[in-house]
């Protein structure tokens, strides 16, 4: 049994019909073609599926699509473009904060969320914030450097 869901995705109205059991992750990918949000575990453990829901970082594999009805979702597709990277993306590029890139969309959104909340995080805060985004490739060093640099470069009062 499918039902219609209306929501705002990346600043534009979106709608689709999904079964109740369909996760937000699957709906974003399969119904809206937003494949930048990745499935790493579908068990809530890895953070690869992170998106912003009404401005809060959430795991889209743990939410049903119907729960997002009437709400606002932001995915990686709304953050920068290859020709014009967001400062967090640019910092990850400059500090080699990604290898395979599979965890990266979740990392970008989590880092942006952190920098919205904490203007000038120290390394410990960055590591705490990223603790839910598992990365098997980088060992996190470049990733942490990048987020610290992004905070620094943005400066106070960003």
């Amino acid at each position: 049994m499918s039902r219609p869901v209306r929501l705002t995705v990346n600043g534009a109205p979106a709608s689709f019909d999904v079964e109740d059991r369909t996760t937000l992750l699957d709906a974003l990918r399969d119904e809206l073609g937003l494949t930048g949000t990745h499935a790493g575990c579908e068990q809530g453990a890895c953070g690869a599926c992170s998106v912003l829901l009404d401005g809060e970082i959430v795991r889209s594999c743990l939410l049903l699509a119907v729960q997002a009805g009437g709400r606002t979702v932001t995915t990686i597709e709304a953050v920068g473009s290859p020709g014009r990277l967001h400062p967090v993306q640019e910092a990850l590029r400059r500090h080699h904060g990604l290898q395979c890139g599979y965890c990266t969309p979740g990392v970008v959104l989590t880092a942006i969320d952190l920098l919205e909340r904490v203007a000038d995080p120290d390394e410990e805060e960055v590591r705490e914030a990223l603790a839910g985004n598992l990365c098997r490739c980088t060992g996190y060093a470049g990733l942490v450097d990048a987020v610290l640099a992004a905070a620094r470069d943005a400066g106070p009062g960003r």
Binding site: R93, Y102, T138
Partner: protein
């Protein structure tokens, strides 16, 4: 230089396997065995087949009728004979073995249909662990073998027994490497489509070796290789886990042909954890003889290897064969003997993971050297210096036929001591000890074979790589290589190599990999081979083109130097002439500016004694770690870690460092938290990332990386970098933790450094924590 691939990956525009939607795409789900060992008494597909949206429910019998062919490991005796069909026939031998395939309009419906299948199992006794497998009267996976031993092999230099007998000192111990999994964050998967008009199968697969996968899929599907195209798209990691040519990939090909629909299998995390490829489980019984100066005079290692259910296309025996050839590492052990007993058990197949058999070998060698230091009461650093290869001769021929071409290991150790601050750490350790704290230092002085050639031990593994380099009429450059990046950044690395060799800017170069439609054959990415072999092919092709460019330029009255940057106008004139104005080319010069090179360093060098050099070159990697251990809780804190890396010519230092940081994190994870566990009845106990915990950003401190490159003799001078850090780390960590706890008399003989394992080892010495003292010590987090 930042990576060219990053812009798309950062913006969600990477295209991984599951991002390839096509019209009419169907989905595949597998019914997998729920038992470790059972006969299949019957399969009732009726309910599943009639579910709305289901297109096909396929069993082994259906596959056979459709012309699918069995796979086999392709090894001759003394290996036990073994072939297997794409789905289990009559019997299952590990939890997760695929039994039935369902094709449906959506993944959810396919999974619903799997639930509706009625598979009648008659349970057989499980076989978990090599000891159980080799016990008298053990149930047999393959009764026709008469044993569960897949192979028993031995090898030795001539004088091992005499040298052991005559040795001033002996040590005999056992060392164990536990079962882990590579765990790329993107699980494996494949997507197939069949074009009946052209008789062409296209398989998109998250695969490390697209060309070899084509060979295997063609064989399994009964097609000519030319009728199959394999494309490996952006990959979310591989680490060996996506190296074996799986039943599932072949099944996707067959199901696409059988149903005529485009379809995708995308493994979920539970499938990936329980039914892909596990790695590492080995036990080594070591017998070493040494002299008063700590020099090993003879080493004998009896390796017992758990292969799981050995249904992997190139057999899971590969890593074990590498283990028994790598027991002397970078050390001048004069006599080495080994035996290998590789055993089948009713667990997930065991095969490749970054390091491929070498971490287990290195654990034993390093542990032996640490034990010698303890026995003689000397610094473990001095024992390493006493045993490391002398600066001459090169190559150094090892007991297994290896022709080690590494740089000056003693100079690297000097760098390690200075940069790590080895003596300062020893001083800090002494201070900490007098304050009742447990600090330890561990060393790992590794020499690793890279760019392996395994023609005789694993089907489909040659020692060549292919590159096609083209300078287009507008003077931009395309490079196609047969290697396959899984995140390592090959688009950037090969662009830099080509740009350097051709004298153009790296932004002028576009790199493509992972597509059998682009190149006749390649070998993919594994065994730290890509920069050595792919880079060697690219360099060779570029040099060839550059010579042609220089000849054309000279004929046109222009100057194009042999090395260094090429003037843009000269290049433009040469490219335009080469492609468009053939009558202005010098006589005998091939028109156009494109060449395809198939490159081999050619160092396989089989000898009359049946040995051969299994690696085209060798990398060196010296690691030191300092840890603090809390004996009460068993928790380990890494205080400092440094490596000195010789991976030959460094193309991009940032990317090399990234490889080392990533390997370091995996190594820490492997020993401190990770273990693939089974219940006694063969049920996997790690089915989610909550049961199998890989390190997070809170767990991995920064590794300090020092480069000390020595160019190799291969084209370009590269040595390879992907695996060294992960081979070196477990041994260093076991050494460090044991060193920390040595005042308590703790001995560690396993890679399990999980808190419960350490607590058990500590308690085994009779030591008991004093809770009051522990609280007073106020152990803080000293990481970073």
């Amino acid at each position: 230089m930042p990576r060219t691939e990053d812009a798309r990956l950062l913006t969600g525009l990477g295209r991984y396997l599951a991002d390839h939607d096509v019209a009419g795409l169907h989905h595949v789900a597998f019914a997998r065995s729920t038992l470790a060992h059972a006969d299949i008494a019957g399969i009732d597909v009726a309910a599943a087949a009639t579910l709305d949206g289901v297109v096909a429910v396929v069993t082994a019998a259906d596959l056979r009728a459709a012309g699918a062919r069995p796979l086999s490991h392709r090894l001759a005796p003394p290996y036990q004979p073994l072939s297997w069909e794409l789905l289990a026939v009559d019997r299952v031998r590990h939890v997760g073995e695929p039994v039935v395939a369902v094709v449906a309009a959506s993944r959810a419906v396919a999974e619903d249909a799997v639930e509706l299948l009625d598979i009648d199992y008659r349970e057989l006794p499980p076989v978990v662990g090599p000891a159980a497998a080799m016990a008298p009267g053990a149930p047999l996976l393959y009764p026709e073998w008469g044993t569960n031993e897949f192979v028993h092999l031995e090898g030795s230099t001539a004088g091992v027994e005499e040298a052991l007998a005559a040795a001033p000192h002996r040590l005999q111990e056992s060392f164990e490497s536990h079962r882990v999994i590579g765990l790329p964050l993107e699980a494996h998967g494949a997507q197939g489509s069949w074009d009946p008009a052209r008789g062409q199968l296209t398989l998109i697969s998250s695969a490390q070796q697209p060309h070899q996968l084509r060979s295997v899929v063609a064989e399994a599907c009964g097609l000519r290789e030319a009728a199959v195209r394999v494309i490996s798209p952006d990959m979310g990691g591989g680490f060996g886990n996506k190296q074996h040519f799986t039943r599932e990939e072949c099944l996707v090909g067959m199901l696409a042909i059988m149903t005529g629909r485009p379809l995708r299998w995308s493994a979920d995390r539970t499938e990936a954890l329980t039914a892909s490829v596990h790695s590492r489980p080995q036990v080594h019984h070591v017998d070493a003889g040494f002299d008063d100066r700590g020099r090993v005079v003879a080493l004998r290692v009896a390796v017992t290897s758990d292969l799981g259910h050995p249904v992997l296309y190139f057999s899971g025996i590969g890593p074990s064969l590498v283990t028994v050839g790598a027991l002397s590492g970078g050390y001048a052990f004069p006599e080495v003997g080994w035996s290998l007993s590789a055993v089948a058990t009713t667990t997930c197949p065991v095969g490749a993971y970054r390091g491929f058999g070498q971490p287990q070998a290195h654990l034993s060698t390093e542990r032996v050297l640490d034990r010698i230091a303890q026995r003689l009461g000397v610094d473990p650093l001095d024992v390493r210096r006493a045993n490391l290869l002398p600066a001459e001769p090169r190559p150094w021929r090892t007991y297994s036929g290896g022709l080690v071409d590494c740089g000056d290991l003693h100079a690297m150790v000097d760098t390690l001591v200075a940069e790590f601050g080895y003596h300062e750490w020893r001083h800090r350790q002494a201070e900490a000890r007098s304050a009742g704290r447990h600090l330890g230092v561990g060393l790992s002085t590794l020499v690793q074979g890279t760019a392996p050639n395994q023609h005789d031990t694993a089907a489909r593994f040659g020692s060549l790589e292919t590159a096609m380099v083209t300078v287009l009429p507008d003077a931009t450059v395309t490079v196609a290589v047969g290697t396959k990046s899984q995140g390592q950044g090959h688009e950037t690395v090969f662009a830099q190599i080509a740009a350097d060799a051709l004298g153009v800017g790296p932004e002028a170069v576009t790199v493509a990999d992972g597509d059998t439609g682009r190149l006749p054959y390649g070998q993919g990415t594994w065994g730290s081979r890509s920069t050595v072999m792919g880079g060697g092919a690219v360099v060779t092709a570029c040099r060839r083109l550059r010579a042609r460019m220089a000849a054309i330029a000279a004929h046109l009255g222009l100057t194009l130097p042999e090395e260094g940057p090429v003037d843009a106008d000269v290049l433009a004139a040469v490219a335009a002439t080469a492609w468009w104005v053939q009558h202005r080319l010098p006589p005998g010069v091939e028109p156009g500016l494109s060449t395809t090179v198939t490159y081999t360093p050619g160092r396989t060098n089989p000898s009359a004694d049946g040995l051969q050099n299994h690696d085209e070159t060798y990398s060196s990697h010296m690691t030191a770690v300092a840890v603090e251990v809390d004996p009460a809780t068993g928790s380990v804190t890494v205080l400092d870690a440094l490596c000195v890396s010789d991976c030959g010519v460094v193309v991009n230092p940032t990317l090399v460092e990234g490889q080392h940081q990533g390997a370091f994190a995996q190594g820490l994870g492997n020993v401190l938290w990770e273990e693939v566990r089974y219940s006694p009845d063969g049920q996997p106990l790690c089915a989610t990332l909550l049961d199998y915990t890989i390190p997070s950003s809170l767990d991995v401190p920064r590794l300090r990386v020092v480069h000390q490159p020595t160019p190799s003799a291969t084209a370009g001078g590269f040595r390879g970098v992907g695996e060294a850090g992960l081979i070196a780390l477990p041994a260093a960590m076991v050494g460090a933790v044991e060193d920390a706890l040595s005042p308590l008399g703790v001995r560690l003989n396993s890679t399990r450094l999980h808190p419960p394992a350490i607590r058990a080892a500590v308690r085994a010495t009779g030591w008991r924590p004093d809770p009051a003292a522990w609280a007073a010590a106020g152990l803080e987090d000293r990481r970073r």
